[in-house]
Amino acid sequence: MTAGAQGQEARLAGGDGLVSLAARPGLRRLLRYASHNRGTYLVWMISTLGYVGMSVAGPLLVGFALAAARAGLPAQELTKRCLWLLLVTLLRGGLRYWSRTLVFNAAREIEYELRNDLFAHLERLPQSFYFRWRTGDLMSRCVNDLGSVRMLLGPGLLSVLQTPILIASFLSAMIAIDAKLAVLVMLPYPAFILIARAFGRTLHRANLALQEGLAELSNGLQETVSGIAVVKAYAMERASERRFDDTNRELYRRQLALVRANAAMPAVVSILPGAAMCIVLLVGGHEAMRGPMTIPNLFTFAMYVYEMTFPTFMMGWVWSLVQRGAASMQRIDQVLSVEPSIADHRDAVPVKSLRGEIEFRHLTFAYPDGRRTPALRDISLSVPAGTSLGVVGPVGAGKTTLASVIPRLFEVEDGQLFLDGIDVNRIPLRTLRRSIAMVPQDSFLFSMSLAENVAYGLPSADLVAVAEAASRAQLARDVAELPHGYETIVGERGVMLSGGQRQRTALARALALRPSILILDDTLSSVDAETEAAIQRGLAEMFKGRTVVIIAHRVSTVRACDQIIVLEEGAIRERGSHEALVAAGGLYARLARDQALEQELDVEAVA
């Protein structure tokens, strides 16, 4: 949650009045979603009215039936009135079921739509967005905030809309019987609402404080465990315990505060209606002794008092729910309002496929995080279709950045990058992504079967294509060792593949696409020299007719490329073929020499 959003939340939560201006765009958007379900909401209002009607009728009928008994009317009359009461009770139950179901279903429907829209929207957002926004924050909005909105639409709406109608109806019925008593009985309720609201706020704050305390504790624990080697090496166990005890005690204090707030709830819920009942007994009783008020009517009043208790309390209590829901909707709206900047241009050239010619013309690119040093500086380079380009350089030189702009993962300005002679910004995204396959550094695999991962870019998991790609990536042998072969689930929720296996799977995934341009970013770093050689042999066949960009740390990986560039600090320092660069005796040559030594030693260079 950004600081701004946090501040917003604080303002909203603490404020007493209507929801602040800042939350309005979010609420407008929410209203739009609600309008998709206006049919449901209409029926809900009708069922609510029915429910309220039955709720009002119940206590009246109780009084009516008792009056029959008091008046000594025949048993059939009593039975008849009781049957009416029974009918009303059953109808009320049914209507309660119906209205509750309707409003909660509508809430879930809106949640469903919102979630879909969020997902679709996130998929359209460019990498520059993901650069700025952290995964945790996004997840929080899609999960926690969405939950708050649902609470707003469910219990929140239920309480805030239904309850006032209920109370107003009860009040009308009571006034019809005895206006004076009705007014007196209602006296405690406004105070009750305010108390419930204050209570809700206190509870919310105590909850937040507790969450903070828990976070504090888990952070401390995490730190201790992460540094457990140091803790042990320096015999810090007792010191750590002391620190933990402090946090533990603080947490305990916050727990107690919450406990007290929680324990106060039933007490609060019972006292004020008790006061109302007291008034019924005292004032109503006197009226009953003297005048038009009857004992059956006392029963009626008593029942109304009882019926009003919980709804009134809920109304006060859910106010903070409503506020939180509004604030959450605002945060969701923030995400949905971001423009997906990488989209097809209006003047997109309708090409269906690319041959694979790449040309950089004075390309300069800086990351959108405000850093003044550009990641790529004045890159001019021509890669004819079907040739290979090797990119080497130290960590942070800009190699991956260079690779990432080709499939337009990051935005570059017009006129700096051309594919097949067309500006990259004018090529339809679909064509671009289908013609270019990239194996990124982190070889991310999804939690699905190996076959599905390899066929990720294909319309379906064609096993023939999968097998071929896998064999070219030297993956076949590994697959044979997996418990279910190609159907083995990999990824976070599946079998943990080794670093090398993951890289080769990512490679197979790219190869399966049969792309015009293949970009390999450090793909063979986790692979030993022998396997690397085998892969390269297999790849040589695949490379024919394709443009290949290979980013590597090892000279041996790129030595066969048609041209090699050495990047440093975002600029091209050297370029040429392997032989030419070695002969030139510069950075590249030194790198080559070191790595040769390393190979003799069968060891990795100390970087």
């Binding site: 179901t101 996130l122 899609c142 039933p266 007291c278 990351y367 030594l597």
Partner: protein, 647 residues
């Protein structure tokens, strides 16, 4: 629901493996924590009776008002007068108003008093019970932490940090729930329900019987619906976990999603599981609403029964009308806990499950323990320092027989300085870890001053061996805290002296609050060179006989490099030093060098000797020298490397 940590589905399955709600064995293990507060527990149990009476009181007061004050005043109702018998005489004295006070006023006052007192007792009861629970949990949490810290390092290699944190936080919270909504509340509720039933039967058996006819139906319906709700809820939880996992995975791997143009297909798949989740919710909403409706209806039906049957009895002169009020009120109170009974059962189940997990952790025995009979190493007779280190035929593997060290034997005399060199994975770091007994040897012995490490108390060992690791782990706290690392016998003067000796004093003083500057977690507000100097100061402040140093390999500027060199020389003055060397200067300074290759010592000697052999050492030396030379020539490139972002 809060954002799940990694492996959400796995955690869920763990959570779902619920067993019994009542496991005597587990409760027995929990008892010692509660026993400390048994006074409070007794209090809460004792409070139940007066609380119950105060729950009964209000309705009875109203009945008294109706039957004894209002109805008689209306007169003409011989029936009303005749139906006084339902009030036992010995209760009436309380309800008789003192002279001069209008009866209704008195009753209204009593009513308020009863409510207020009842609310107060309820508050006290809930607070004390929860307070007991929280106190017991605080103690439990402390024990869990103490246990974790004493576990051996190998444990942490296998047990994810996240899970440990869950044990100490979420699981303990779950167990705490047991005290507020679990077993005690359950028992209290059952007692209250029984109480209401008994009292109602005492007032008027026939009416009570008629009223309770609806109870089995309600109980049955509640149980059935509650079960369905729970199942539906489970389905919902599984599906939301799946949705969140997919969401997280998609966001994390968005680059791949976009690169392979999978947006549309992913959306379709997502919409499907999203829809399944919503449908699961529709089910649970249905049952949940049904439950609500049934409970409300049952309450309403019992009112109908009371009115119909009761009014009949009133007409027949068998029951006072006020009794009907009592029946309506008490029946309502009877039904209230019934609705929540099964919810409390679920709480118990999850509390028990958490309890089990916590005790499982507490039952894990630490593998690196102090010996029962410790042996103290003898200091050399000639008054010199201790610190002789010997490895005898040491073999070590982290797992199974994947040997990292093979048959290592060597001896280092007190005050001697030796360096270990070798390629990555040659075993150097593991060797260091064995020396400080962070891990146990698989075969062979490690001896300090002639005593096997296993016979030395760990505290003693750590006192004599100071470790400086590659990854300088700094805790959140002040500079002083990090230098002292919790040892009270290290005073400020010692710390400053140590800092001065390693050339750290100057930069520390220049920090915003000097020695009291708060370091951020992992010390990220310092440069790597500064962190290394701090770690030297730390080791020096602890004053050990043996220094074990794993030199950092990250590149730093030449100025700090020189500082570190000087600092190191000061640090190992008069100490035995075992260094995993990466710096040229370090190698040149030591007395002996051991060359490790694939877990074995392949060469040994001093620098010149080894170079002349033109063997493994020679090649390593050449490589590292060249690497350092390259770094010296292009320091800016190295510096930019750190700041480059996703390159």
């Amino acid at each position: 629901m809060s954002v799940p940590s990694g492996g959400a589905l796995a955690a869920l399955h763990e959570e779902e493996a619920l067993g019994k709600a009542y496991d005597a064995r587990l409760l027995g293990r929990l008892w010692p924590y509660v026993r400390r507060y048994r006074g409070q527990v007794l209090l809460t149990l004792l409070l139940v009776f007066p609380m119950f009476v105060l729950e009964l009181a209000p309705a009875w007061i109203v009945k008294t008002g109706i039957d004894r004050v209002i109805a008689p005043a209306l007169g003409g109702d011989a029936l009303a007068r005749a139906s006084a018998p339902s009030s036992p005489e010995h209760l009436v004295w309380l309800l008789r108003p003192p002279g001069g006070v209008a009866p209704l006023v008195w009753l209204a006052g009593l009513y308020l008093a009863a409510m207020a007192l009842g609310a107060l007792l309820q508050f006290i009861h809930a607070t004390v019970m929860a307070w007991t629970g929280q106190s017991a949990m605080r103690d439990l949490r402390g024990d869990v932490f103490r246990h974790i810290v004493r576990l051996h390092l190998g444990f942490f290699d296998r047990y994810p940090v996240g899970r440990l944190v869950t044990r100490a936080t979420n699981d303990v919270e779950n167990v705490a729930e047991m005290f507020s909504a679990g077993i005690v509340a359950l028992v209290t509720d059952l007692l209250k329900m029984a109480g209401f039933a008994v009292v109602l039967f005492m007032v008027n058996a026939r009416l009570a019987f008629a009223t309770f006819l609806v109870v089995p139906f309600l109980a049955g319906a509640t149980v059935v619906f509650r079960l369905r709700v729970r199942e539906a809820f489970r389905a919902v939880r599984v599906r939301i976990a799946r949705i969140n996992a997919v969401l997280q995975e998609t966001v994390t791997g968005m680059k791949v999603v976009q690169l392979f143009a999978r947006e549309e297909r992913n959306l379709r798949d997502f919409a499907q599981i999203n829809g399944e989740h919503r449908d699961a919710w529709y089910d649970s909403i249905r049952y949940d609403s049904a439950l609500f409706a049934v409970v409300e209806a049952a309450g309403g039906i019992s009112v109908v029964v009371v009115i119909w049957y009761g009014a009949g009895l009133v007409t027949a002169g068998l029951v006072a009308i006020g009794t009907l009020y009592v029946f309506i009120d008490w029946t309502r109170r009877f039904f209230l806990p019934l609705r929540d009974l099964s919810a409390k059962y679920s709480v118990m189940q999850s509390s028990m499950a958490s309890c089990e997990r916590i005790f499982q952790l507490l039952d894990t025995a630490p593998l690196v323990v102090d010996p029962v009979v410790p042996v103290m190493p003898v200091r050399p007779v000639h008054g010199g320092r201790g610190g002789a280190v010997e490895f005898r035929n040491v073999w070590f593997a982290y797992q199974n027989e994947d040997w990292v060290l093979r048959d290592i034997s060597f001896r280092v005399e007190p005050g001697e300085r030796v360096a270990f060199v070798g390629a990555t994975g040659a075993g150097k770091t593991s060797l260091i870890k064995l020396l400080t007994r962070l891990y146990e040897v698989s075969r062979g012995q490690v001896l300090l001053d002639g005593v096997d490490l296993r016979e030395l108390p760990q505290a003693e060992l750590r006192q004599r061996v100071a470790m400086v690791l590659q990854d300088v782990f700094l805790f959140s706290g002040s500079v002083t805290d990090n230098l002292r690392l919790g040892r009270e016998d290290v005073d400020r003067a010692t710390i400053e002296a140590a800092a001065r000796a390693v050339e750290a004093h100057r930069f520390i003083e220049r920090l915003p609050q000097g020695y009291d500057t708060e370091l951020r977690e992992r010390g990220t507000n310092l440069s790597s060179g500064q962190r290394q100097l701090l770690s030297f100061a730390r080791a020096l402040a602890h004053g050990a006989d043996v220094l074990v140093l794993d030199e950092a390999t990250s590149s730093i500027d030449t100025e700090t490099e020189a500082l570190i060199q000087t600092a190191l020389r000061r640090l190992w003055e008069g100490r035995t030093a075992l260094v995993i060397a990466h710096r040229l200067s370090t190698i040149q300074d030591v007395d002996r060098i051991f060359v490790l290759h694939k877990g074995r010592i392949v060469e040994e000697g001093n620098h010149e000797m080894l170079l002349a052999r033109r063997g493994v050492y020679h090649r390593l030396y050449q490589l590292q020298y060249r690497a350092q030379e390259a770094r010296a020539l292009a320091p800016q490139a190295a510096a930019a490397g750190g700041a480059g972002g996703a390159a």
